[in-house]
Point group: C2
Chain length 131, copies 2
Amino acid sequence: MPAKPPQPPRPTDAELEILTVLWARGPATVRDVHETICRRKPAQYTTVLKMLQIMAEKGLVRRDEKQRAHIYQASRPREWTQRQLAGDLLQRAFNGSAKSLIVGALAARKASKEELAELHQLLEEYEKGTP
Amino acid sequence: MPAKPPQPPRPTDAELEILTVLWARGPATVRDVHETICRRKPAQYTTVLKMLQIMAEKGLVRRDEKQRAHIYQASRPREWTQRQLAGDLLQRAFNGSAKSLIVGALAARKASKEELAELHQLLEEYEKGTP
DNA sequence: TTCTTCGTAGTAAAGTCTTCGTAGATCATG
DNA sequence: CATGATCTACGAAGACTTTACTACGAAGAA
């Protein structure tokens, strides 16, 4: 068995779904995660358990075994993983052009007026910070 | 064999690499694609061939068999697929928040001053178009 | 024509991803 | 204690992904 990688690999689809739950709920047991997942789609308890075990091996989650029901939590904060995923897609599909990615994102889901305003402000801060 | 899906599925990593070549080169033979791929990493000719065959089945590329060396081309324009990918990631990892995705993208790869200015302008057009 | 080169197709091996069933340990309760 | 509930670990099936070898036909050269 290889040691846990310091840089956990890109999460797969199912893994990302579980990470989403952990980010929203904070540290949680298998049962907690399972119940949350089940509200959106049918899934067996042991399936979630197995995923969490695999994710622990990969280093995507950390697990506290002090209790009988182990407590899992994402090993990286949401923002960190989101940055990885955005950067990965940027590299693989957008040839590194952040502009293209943003165009794609805005085209995929029309942003509201408020969201656009937020983005506008965000950009201005970036422009100030990058002289 | 199922018919070609009208909505081709999300391309995998290797598929996306090939699509990138086709987008850049336009319609191309297996040999063309193979040579381009080979400049960046070792790969067998028949591996590229097989990928293109699979991608044709999935509907990711179209193939013209009139010549002996078949001609392949992406079945969807780059922008369309990029929009799909951005939307998919937006949904799966960013809870639909375009802002978060953009923050992630900008954090992943610092944009140049020029790029930021372009984005700024782009946003203003969006804001005009979304009253 | 014969031999070599170039092309596609088919097969399959190895790896990963996802799902779930079963077994065994632990805990709570009558 | 006995029984049922709860939890983890293990194993494995099935699908998908990636890679590459082999076979065989078509085109071109000697």
